[in-house]
């Protein structure tokens, strides 16, 4: 998801990288074919991405309830949004969930990548096992986790049956801990991906540096902590950006695991938006909350893309 272009050359005049052109009508058509081919996709993106964003912005400035109304009333929906306590629950949950999800996924992913980098027998099999949750839908894995975390049939019951009748692990049904079960399932699903990112980057590090440090007497942990990890700093940035935008968009997982409950204790902005727009007939407020999500993603993505474009540095 970067704009990096290894063979990028600045456009020279109007010719760019185009081959030499014969004159005539056929050549004219050929010359514009490229634009014609991209045009349908670009038009679709203009309409379905940018046009729809504009549409949502417009709706958020109306007093649309069940059906969209096109009469502008100013930023009412936004001020209403920020007076709804359920929205604050969703925001707070996003901060808790996002912070823990990103932090723990990075920690586990990096640890696994470094451990797997030690000439491990069966590395391929282990890598496959660590990463497979990424291939599954959150709805599928959420179904499994919901069952495992269910106090009456899952882990709690299992440990109790082993002879610890006082053991309690009922986070999923408690108001103040339900959000942490989202972290458990999301980390399980995505940490293998972080592992894959870092493992690929570790394999790109110059081995001579490691050798030199080793001959100087540095221990392996010191080499990784002091030399290798700092040298792949850009991957931290990529991983952070991808995980952060996954966190903001998280919807399926909440639906499958907690349904936002108990009550709305584990709501995230994505479930809040869906609830307002499609269940509570508050289209304007739903649109306003969607724009808050967009703003968050843009705040994460744009500086990242900008630095990628400007620096053009290779990872």
């Amino acid at each position: 998801m970067t704009l990096q272009n290894p063979t990028y050359r600045p456009p020279a005049g109007t010719a760019d990288a185009a081959p030499p052109r014969p004159a005539g009508l056929r050549a004219l058509a050929q010359r514009h074919l490229s634009k014609l081919v991209v045009a349908p996709s670009f038009a679709a993106i203009l309409l379905f991405v940018y046009g729809f964003i504009a549409w949502t912005v417009y709706i958020s400035f109306t007093n649309s309830k069940m059906l969209p109304s096109y009469e502008l009333v100013g930023p009412d929906a936004f001020s209403k949004l920020w007076r709804i306590s359920r929205w604050y629950v969703a925001i707070e949950n996003l901060l808790i969930f996002g912070g823990l999800f990103i932090g723990i996924s990075l920690a586990i992913g990096i640890l696994l990548a470094v451990l797997l980098d030690q000439r491990i027998r069966g590395e391929g099999v282990l890598r496959t096992i660590y990463l497979y949750p990424m291939a599954l839908s959150f709805i599928v894995t959420g179904t499994a986790w919901k069952w495992i975390l269910n106090p009456t049939i899952g882990i709690q019951e299992f440990v109790r049956s082993l002879g610890f009748p006082a053991f309690t692990f009922d986070w999923i049904v408690q108001q103040d801990t339900a959000v942490y079960t989202l972290v458990i399932a999301a980390v399980w699903q995505s940490s293998g991906f972080v592992m894959a990112l870092f493992l690929a980057a570790l394999r790109g590090v110059d081995q001579e540096i490691i050798k030199a440090a080793y001959l100087d007497g540095a221990s392996l942990p010191r080499i990784y902590w002091g030399i290798v990890l700092p040298s792949i700093r850009p991957v931290f940035m990529s991983a952070f950006v991808i995980l952060a935008h996954l966190a903001v968009k998280s919807y399926d997982l909440v639906v499958a695991l907690t349904g936002g409950g108990p009550g709305y204790a584990s709501d995230l902005p994505a479930t809040f938006m869906y609830e307002m727009t499609f269940r509570r007939n508050q289209i304007a407020i739903g649109s306003a909350s969607a724009l808050m999500m967009l703003a968050t993603v843009v705040a994460i993505i744009v500086p990242y893309l900008y630095s990628e474009l400007k620096g053009g540095k290779r990872v």
Binding site: S41, I45, I129, W188, G192, L197, Y251
Partner: protein, 296 residues
């Protein structure tokens, strides 16, 4: 690709051997952590309801009963519809196949045009398309629902195909564009001098070179679209819903006795296609995941 530490001499001595054992132990524990939910799902799907009630969470099924699987496949009730997961599974197939084919085709053409026949503003066009890959879908849900209504596609699989093609373009274009920039322009130049045109070069020169990125893109799109829930839940009505939405409805049905073995079998049915693809072509799946974020 070789291990970073392969430049170093292997460590000797008892301490080093102990460290190796510890290393493998940690890796095995993590493997267990990742595998456990899947194994529990599979084991439970083969158990009888009686065994789930009386047995232990971690026990293996006493006998392999396929009852839950066949019940989930064609008799389980999803809402008031008691035809099981089968019709929804077929819906997903009907959505995924055209969506993957079309979005991959457009992505390939875009990538080709944007790298080998650069026009003024090509980079801006690419950046604007790329932004779509980060778009939180919530921003377009409502306008899309209204638009599908106007187009007469509301609630249909056709509508979902349109949605998946459009919002898949950002990824497919990115994949092909980043792949094609590494193919020398001279190949194209030589072919134009020989009189080959835009599409001829695409089909005769570019496509035969594109097999790896085709596989990466098809697997990526297949996984994304098969696993989609938000679009399916928002835009598909009743009988046209994809398998993920059906699974969620099945699991969250509150009426009747909870049949955990059926829930797990249904989850496995919904998850198997992407799991099989991952096991068979994991290498390409990983390449898709890391395609944008690490240059490889």
């Amino acid at each position: 690709m070789s291990s970073l530490t392969s430049a170093l001499p292997p460590a000797q001595g008892t301490g080093a051997r102990l460290a190796r054992w510890g290393l493998y132990l940690i890796l095995a524990l993590f493997a267990a952590y990742y595998l456990l939910p899947l194994l529990l799902m599979i084991a439970t799907s083969f158990k009888s309801p009686e065994e789930i009630r009386t047995g232990s969470l971690l026990s293996l099924p006493r006998e392999l009963s396929l009852d839950a699987w066949s019940y989930a496949w064609n008799r389980a009730c999803i809402g008031a519809d008691c035809r099981g997961m089968a019709p929804y599974f077929l819906n997903s197939v009907a959505i995924v196949v055209p969506s993957v084919v079309l979005s991959t085709l457009f992505g390939a053409l875009n990538g080709y045009a944007l790298t080998k026949w650069r026009f003024r503003g090509a980079n801006i066009v690419f950046a604007m398309i790329l932004f779509g890959s980060f778009l939180p879908s919530q921003v377009i849900l409502l306008p899309m629902a209204r638009t599908l209504g106007v187009l007469g596609l509301a609630g249909s699989t056709g509508g979902l195909v349109l949605v998946h093609v459009v919002y898949g373009l950002a990824f497919t274009t990115l994949f092909f564009r980043n792949y094609y920039v590494s193919i020398p322009d001279d190949l194209v130049k030589a072919a134009t001098i020989d009189g080959a045109g835009f599409f001829q070069i695409f089909t005769k020169i570019m496509l035969p070179l594109s097999l790896p990125i085709l596989v990466v893109t098809i697997i990526w799109q297949f996984t994304q679209i098969w696993n989609d829930f938000l679009f399916g839940a928002s835009f598909a009505a009743g009988g046209a819903q994809p398998v993920t939405v059906a699974l969620n409805n099945l699991v969250n049905t509150t009426t009747g006795v909870k049949q955990y073995n059926v829930d797990m079998a249904a989850a496995m049915i919904a998850g198997l296609p992407t799991l099989v693809v991952y096991v068979l072509a994991g290498k390409y799946f990983i390449r898709g995941l890391t395609a944008g974020s690490v240059k490889g």
